[in-house]
Amino acid sequence: MTVFVIRRLMQSILVLFAMSAIVFFGVYVVGDPVEILVSHEADEAERARVAAALGLDRPVWVQYFAFLENALGGDLGKSFVFGIPAIQLILQRMPATFELVIVSFVIAVGLGIPLGMYAGYRPNSAGAKTIMAGSILGFSLPTFWVGLMLIMIFAVEMQILPAGGRGPVGSFLGMQSSLFSWTGLGHLFLPALNLALFKLALVIRLARAGMRETLLLDYVKYARAKGLAMRRIVFVHVLKNIMIPIVTVLGLELGSQIAFSVVTETVFAWPGMGKLIIESIDKLDRPVIVAYLLVIVVIFVLINLVVDVLYSVLDPRVRLAARA
């Protein structure tokens, strides 16, 4: 187990290095930030001065090594636009994104597992067909369009929920979050629902597929032959086994959820990391783009690691295979 975790950690660090190089060199090619930051009337000397101040006059690879050295010390460069450290900028926006992602996850899992299990248990019932049709819609509808429709229905037509923004944050035990104020919750609801829809559809499908395939297995037949109540079989034995793929996928999706929040945050003007990256791409704010990507990669790598470990806890077969 320890060897497994260490090996995975080493791999993760390699991925991190590869990504940092790809991203850094990739972003370097994009354009010239000096063009954007300096006014059109500026002369050559002024431009050179700005380029030197930003460290842009040095060769790419020197910049990369300087960047790498600083990155290892937690310094990912200063935002060209805001003039404050990129990492600080991202960390400031992170709570808003996490809040959104967590609430959307709760919605997806809380609704998705029961609905999916029902759809798998009675695949031919009208309820199951409705649920599955709904899940296909959840997959098909592009997130941004659903977001727009939610705004149109709840904010423009019915005028019961705000169209965007984060609203006031409440304070609880020193933590600042929209979860702790009623207006904040109102602002949070639509974006979280919007972000949850895709995952909800996914969880429903996984739970349904798992249910359908697991119910046919011998151990279920055996449990029924033994006289166990269907209720117990489904909620104890089957649920445990269908949780394996769901935990894996959900764990991996946690990262993609953070990435997907780019879209939801843009639609709802939610001041999180996703909106920041779109703005940074627009303004070619290189340090912020690179820092955002590295933060995302770190999050992904950590999530993958945790999921792998969880997986081996949930499914003893994985542990045995790893030992062999």
Partner: protein
């Protein structure tokens, strides 16, 4: 060699079986009325996209045909020229129906082009990895794993930030995002197929790797590839729309459905819903019907669910 080949693979048996298979797939496919309706939807959308220049009452790119005074007309309103805009007009007086038909053309074109290229690339890489085995296989699959562990929207976002804007760049970004799905699917089925006796027989006949892979193994890997291909194409269309909505996809001069929807956003807040809603409905129709077809195909072709 040809005689030995005939002995191992009787010439007429194989095509007949394949035909019966396709007939069975079609029969099972037609069992679901929803799937049939979805197929009709796909055909409708494709026809609308292909025939857009013939169907559209206006060429939305031709500025001379735009009537700036007749902008933001509600659906069904008549323009000054006496023409009825069934789906209204946008902020530049562009007929929404025409805009949608042309937008659909771009969205579908980008989606299908990237799907086909990604399929070809992924298929070749997957087959190669399965055939080579060992370290090459492990290395290729490691890249696939890493690639797939990053969400498509993020990878595409970064690529477009790096590449810049334009149709060919967005296709390239979508191909890079998608090839790994195909590679993984093909490799998984190819590994199973390569262990079968007919491959051993083909090897005994001293067929080259290319012939074994493309003539004998590949046809047997097609069913799962078909399913993945259908669903990935729908994904590609949705992803392109999302990127265009975020303002980093198709340029303004070639508005895809996503860009049309983004255009209408500001007007939506003042109650002018049609500029965003109708392109969205068209997008939804395209994506949902492709997905439903793919879904039914998966149910038919998945041996684990075979009744």
């Amino acid at each position: 060699m040809s005689a030995a080949h005939e002995a191992v693979f009787p010439a007429e048996a194989a095509p007949a079986r394949a035909e019966a298979n396709w007939r069975r797939v079609w029969r099972e496919f037609a069992e679901s009325r929803i799937a049939l309706a979805a197929l009709a939807g796909v055909i409708l959308v494709v026809l609308a996209a292909v025939l857009a220049p013939l169907l559209a009452p206006q060429n939305p790119y031709d500025l001379r045909q735009l009537d700036i005074l007749g902008n933001l007309l509600a659906p069904g309103a008549k323009s000054s020229a006496g023409y009825t805009h069934w789906l209204g007009t946008d902020d530049q007086g562009r007929d929404m129906l025409s805009g949608i038909l042309y937008g659909l053309r771009i969205s579908l074109g980008v989606g299908v082009a990237s799907g086909v290229i990604a399929l070809a690339a992924g298929m070749a890489i997957g087959l190669f990895a399965a055939y080579a085995g060992g370290r090459v296989d492990a290395f290729v699959m490691r890249i696939v794993d890493v690639q797939l562990s990053f969400p498509a929207v993020l990878v595409a976002l970064i690529l477009l930030a790096v590449l810049g804007r334009g149709a060919e760049k967005i296709v390239l970004a979508l191909v890079i995002v998608q090839w790994a799905y195909y590679a993984r699917t093909v490799r998984a089925s190819a590994l199973v197929e390569l262990n079968k006796e007919y491959v051993a027989a083909a090897r005994c006949l001293a067929f080259g790797p290319a012939r074994i892979l493309f003539r004998h193994v590949l046809p047997n890997c097609l069913p799962p590839l078909l399913v993945v291909g259908t669903i990935q194409t729908a994904h590609a269309i949705a992803l392109e729309a999302t990127l265009s909505y975020l303002g980093i996809g198709m340029p303004l001069t070639e508005p895809s459905l996503g860009r049309l929807i983004a255009n209408g956003y500001q007007y939506m807040l003042s109650g002018k819903y049609w500029i965003s809603v109708f392109p969205g409905v068209a997008l939804l129709l395209a994506i949902a019907s492709i997905n439903l077809v793919g879904d039914q195909l998966r149910d038919i072709l998945n041996p684990r669910l075979r009744r």
